[in-house]
Amino acid sequence: MTSPLNCAEATVALGAYVVGALDPRERADVEAHLAHCPACRDELAQLAPLPGLMSRLTLHEAVSGPPPVDDAMLERLLIATEHERRHASKRRWLAAAAAVVVLAGGTTAGVSMWHSMHTTHWEHVAAQQGLVSMAVDIEPSATGTALQLSLRGVPSGERCRLIAIADDGTQDVAGSWEATYSGTASIRGTTSIERAHLQRLMIKTYDGKTLVSAAVPSV
């Protein structure tokens, strides 16, 4: 052992002591000081649990930090919640309509009416590519397929088209618009492609770049 450590020296060495970075001689000096210094033992007690907590992280995690989240994930969440809000208000409206029917025509008619309206078959398709995310409600219609599109993350002012693609490769423009300043769009469109043949929906710019594309499940 070299000359005894004073409290200030010992305290500062406690960090390296608890992470095991002191050489054996310095470690012995610190331990000799701790043996007769309650204040430094208190300080040690404060630091001692830290290595155990730090061991939860790998070297890589400690160096790189928590994984970054990006705006695309937020956009995707925003579009999904917006979509559900719209559906919820639609459901409320249908329930109100059904209530009126109940008053007018009796319970049985009301319930079955509500049931058939409530189970109207809107399918839901969503996709994301980079910052652009889209969600589409799909419903068979008399002339083909009705589409209700929500879009986010499109560069402001970009002119876009919603393209429906059939299983035989036929393409149909189901809607076109110019993105707003906020890069969002909510568009109702139709395509003559029947639901059974609808295979894919794409958002393309007027110069032909595909912004986002979603496969439509086969029925």
């Binding site: 960090g15 390296a16 649990p49 730090m54």
Partner: protein, 173 residues
């Protein structure tokens, strides 16, 4: 129809800002680092929280525990769904599926990562060298290009700062 938008969006943004990062870190552990699947897990978990805002009331219990539990269930469900489709190739098992009592530990893990990230670069660097790389004071001094005395004092103050950051996050042990 009343336009919906900014106020509702603000609630979603807040939910995202508070919880997306820890959930993503947790999901990455559950999926063995698969970013795409992890983002899906985070999305579904936050959607469920958004649908049930009552769970976000801290008086009802620890919010993040609930979120981590949901994330874990989403991960397990997704994994089972994939396994049920035998034709899919290149599907690995979930790297780690912790039991319920390991969720608290996973929470602490993220909190440690988050606390460590708040340290100054000098403080973080000295802990990476001395603790994570297991270097001695003399070795760390050589790597960092500072005197050994500086490594010692930085290690001490870095640990103090880390302890404080952990206390602020409610980690006491």
């Amino acid at each position: 129809m009343v336009p919906v938008g900014s106020a509702e969006d603000a609630a979603v943004r807040m939910l995202y800002e508070q919880h997306a990062a820890p959930l993503l870190a947790y999901a990455l552990r559950l999926t063995g680092g698969d970013r795409g699947r992890s983002e899906d897990i985070v999305q579904e978990t936050l959607l469920r929280a958004w649908r049930h805002p009552e769970v976000l009331d801290p008086d009802r219990g620890p919010v993040r525990s609930w979120l981590f539990t949901v994330a874990r269930n989403v991960a397990v469900d997704a994994h089972r769904a994939r396994r049920a489709r035998p034709t899919e190739v290149g599907d690995e098992a979930l790297a780690v599926v912790p039991a319920g009592d390991e969720i608290e530990q996973a929470l602490d893990t993220w909190l440690v990562a988050d606390a460590l990230a708040t340290l100054s670069p000098d403080h973080r660097a000295v802990l990476v060298e001395t603790y994570y790389r297991g270097r001695s004071v003399a070795e760390a001094a050589a790597v960092l290009g500072v005197p050994p005395g500086t490594v010692k004092s930085r290690t001490f103050y870095a640990l103090r700062a880390l302890r404080l950051a952990l206390e602020e996050r409610g980690v006491t042990q």
